[in-house]
Point group: C2
Chain length 448, copies 2
């Protein structure tokens, strides 16, 4: 009997374990999780805090997973070392397990800048484990500083504003989501957040937190001082690579574990999947570390399949960073490179920004959707989309299929239409049309 | 100076004329329209009748088009013949115009079955031209029969139900949208329509309309008699090919005009675009006639560009019939072949029907989305989607990019996710996963 050990019960690990057992019913599959729950959904944290999600944001209980899926689940158990085909465990199920295949899915952990005052009461870094504490702290606060305007920062600002808090959002970049949006699109989101009552402090860096009696009272940045009752850090995550390194894996240039497209980490039988692993970027062809649940799920599926079948059966394809978030009723998403990033890489991008609507424009109650397309070397390098409709997520999915492809595909692609769902010229087709026009107008350059 | 004559002021013709003038500012561009308005939107008719659209469902007035775009617009003028590089016109701007390029965009006209009683008052066939009459007739009616459950029939039933009418929908097929939905998906829509109060009569054929005093009172089918105050025909359209035939074009097997992918109809300088023209089907590779506004716009663009530049500059790609409609809050869309059609063509399809949600499933207020994927020969042949969200249209657009491609692309493709916009496993990725599993399960067939 082969034994497959999976370390980490999040998206990647739970998927890997489940898949491995399904494809190899005769295998022993052990899922090792340091915390109290498996299949937790960290993307849901802001909404769990804001009571917009159901009570439990994990999808399976240990018992369900064991009975329905046949996977042994070791909770409150930490994998501390790997040597000679054996994983050393500490905690509730301490000891050692010999493996034929080992899937390391240890994920990522929140990172906070090393500032003074992090230990004050009222300062929180949300995780699945401390959800109830964070909820209690934030419910009791009136004025909250959110540090960092990445996805989680924007979502925390959204939820806290909806809860009636005064929110001060502090971000070192010049606008929200500075890594995935250019300034023009980022400022659309910023205006909407400002109109929603958020106090926005861009281009400021937190220097220290001050308080009295062990409780936070003030955030001090390089440009201001903000009186607060609570502080939420949303300053990003770092990959948990310790166990992978102990197993003999190597880190890539991003700081996450370098893996093959089959999720192999190098040492025989060792796979790394999820937020701990690197991927390949679809546009640049370079290693990329983009820790998102969608990739973690799929990497877990790939690692679980290949481990169970003991061959290179499925591969994890290059990624372009398709992502989406919202503030209030404004949804913002992006995929591929920003114009700024494309320029930095010498790709001489041009961009098209167009305003469209979610319905035919003769319909009542249309909502605006803004699309920015970044094109370089004749290829679509990236898209950014903002609009007052959840359809923005689906637009990002569609854009993801075109990223890296010749830009004229945006024109030639097929889109559906009826008055309630889209304008007759889909905004992507309009971008493709503008692009094609370059080559057809009088005295235009020759077509590529 | 070259002269480009465009016949037909709908989606294809107006786009063609506008594009031609833009790319050849020195050309004389004449747009000939038999009716009173240009850039009309027949897809909006049901919603204009139901007051859900703005007052005018055309996008440009003649004057705007002439002043802003530099196109000469001849309204109330009919092109009756083409001979020796000259179009013969009758009506307001009667006479003849010599052309260097002729773009025929005469569209389609409603078709009604040849039954007795079509001339009774209260019997209407909606068009852009008779909109006010149709609106008056239907507003005054209490019980309305809608004949035909294609897109327009379903939409008329939706609008009339919302207006408080008792609607009897009569359709020869076994469920609504029988050409684009299989029975399983069609019955989802049928239940929703029945729950919305529509009296559904499937598998019935209208034999005659009866009335007294010249006014309709009854629809008689091969299976029943229905007392009504008004009857709306939504029994499809036929291409308007007369002028194209006079110009020397040939019809294809679908009954529409056979054209090259550059929209050339054969005779020198003659293009046919829009609902009068055939296209190539992406899945079957055969001629297809799918009269939709999206194709008409794009065909017009292609014909206008090629006519203006006098070369084969852009092509119109194969199509898969991406389309969407709604009844109440249930949106239903499809692209590619149904399972039944694929089976008829000997493609030995298998299908996957999965239920998903528009949000992560731990969120409150999720809405169900059902996806049916039809796979044959390792390729995605078609998809049908139904759900209580306008996002169904965007799902169809995404599906359209995968139709004709290897089915595993559904798994490998990239999708975005956040709790408000999608589940972490996109339903298309789930289909891809189910498909891949065939090849990975114990004793499964070898991977393709």
């Amino acid at each position: 009997m082969r034994t497959i050990v999976v370390v980490g019960g999040g998206a990647a690990g739970a998927t890997a374990a489940s898949r491995a057992k399904r494809l190899c019913p005769s295998c022993r599959v052990v899922l090792v999780e340091a915390g109290d729950v498996i299949t937790h959904a960290p993307c849901a944290l802001p909404y769990a805090i804001g009571d917009m999600a159901e009570e439990s944001i994990w999808l399976f209980e240990k018992e369900e997973f064991e009975v329905e899926r046949g996977v042994e689940v070791f909770l409150r158990t930490k994998a501390v070392d790997v040597e000679g085909g054996r994983v050393k465990l500490e905690g509730e199920r301490g000891g050692a397990v010999d493996y034929d295949a080992l899937i390391i899915a240890t994920g990522a952990k929140p990172w906070t800048p090393p500032v003074e005052g992090l230990g004050l009461r009222g300062v929180v870094v949300p995780t699945v484990a401390n959800l109830q504490l964070v909820k209690a702290v934030l419910s009791a606060a009136r004025r909250v500083a959110v540090i960092g305007a990445g996805y989680i920062g924007v979502e925390m600002a959204d939820v806290l504003t909806a809860m009636g808090k005064h929110v001060t959002l502090i971000e070192g970049g010049g606008w929200p989501l500075p890594r995935v949006l250019d300034g023009d699109m980022g400022r659309l989101l910023a205006s909407h957040m400002a109109a929603g009552g958020v106090e926005l402090r861009f281009g400021e860096r937190v220097q220290r937190l001050e308080g009295s009696g062990g409780r936070v009272e003030r955030v001090v940045t390089d440009a201001g001082r903000y009186e607060v009752d609570a502080v939420v850090f949303a300053t990003g995550v770092k990959p948990n690579v310790d166990l992978a390194l102990r197993a003999g894996a190597k880190l890539g240039p991003t700081g996450a574990v370098a893996v093959s497209k089959y999720m192999e980490a190098g040492p025989p039988g060792v796979y790394v999947a999820g937020d701990a692993a690197e991927a390949v970027h679809k546009v640049t062809g370079e290693p990329a570390w983009i820790p998102l649940a969608t990739y973690a799920n799929k990497m877990g599926y790939v690692a679980g399949t290949n481990a169970a079948l003991d061959k290179r059966a499925v591969e994890f394809p290059p990624i372009a960073g398709a992502s989406v978030t919202k503030f209030g009723d404004l949804y913002v998403g992006a995929v591929g490179l920003t114009e700024a990033e494309a320029a930095r890489r010498g790709l001489s991008p041009t961009s098209y920004v167009i305003k469209s609507t979610d319905k035919a424009r003769y319909m009542k109650e249309t909502r605006e959707i803004a699309v920015k397309a970044v094109i370089g070397g004749g290829r679509l390098l990236g898209m950014q989309i903002a609009g007052h409709s959840a359809i923005v997520g689906a637009y990002v999915d569609l854009a993801a299929q075109f990223v890296g492809e010749p830009a004229e595909r945006l024109f030639h692609a097929e889109y559906s239409y009826m008055p309630f769902t889209a304008p007759p010229w889909h905004p992507f087709a309009v971008v493709g049309r503008l692009w094609l026009r370059n080559y057809h107008r009088p005295n235009g350059p020759p077509a590529p």
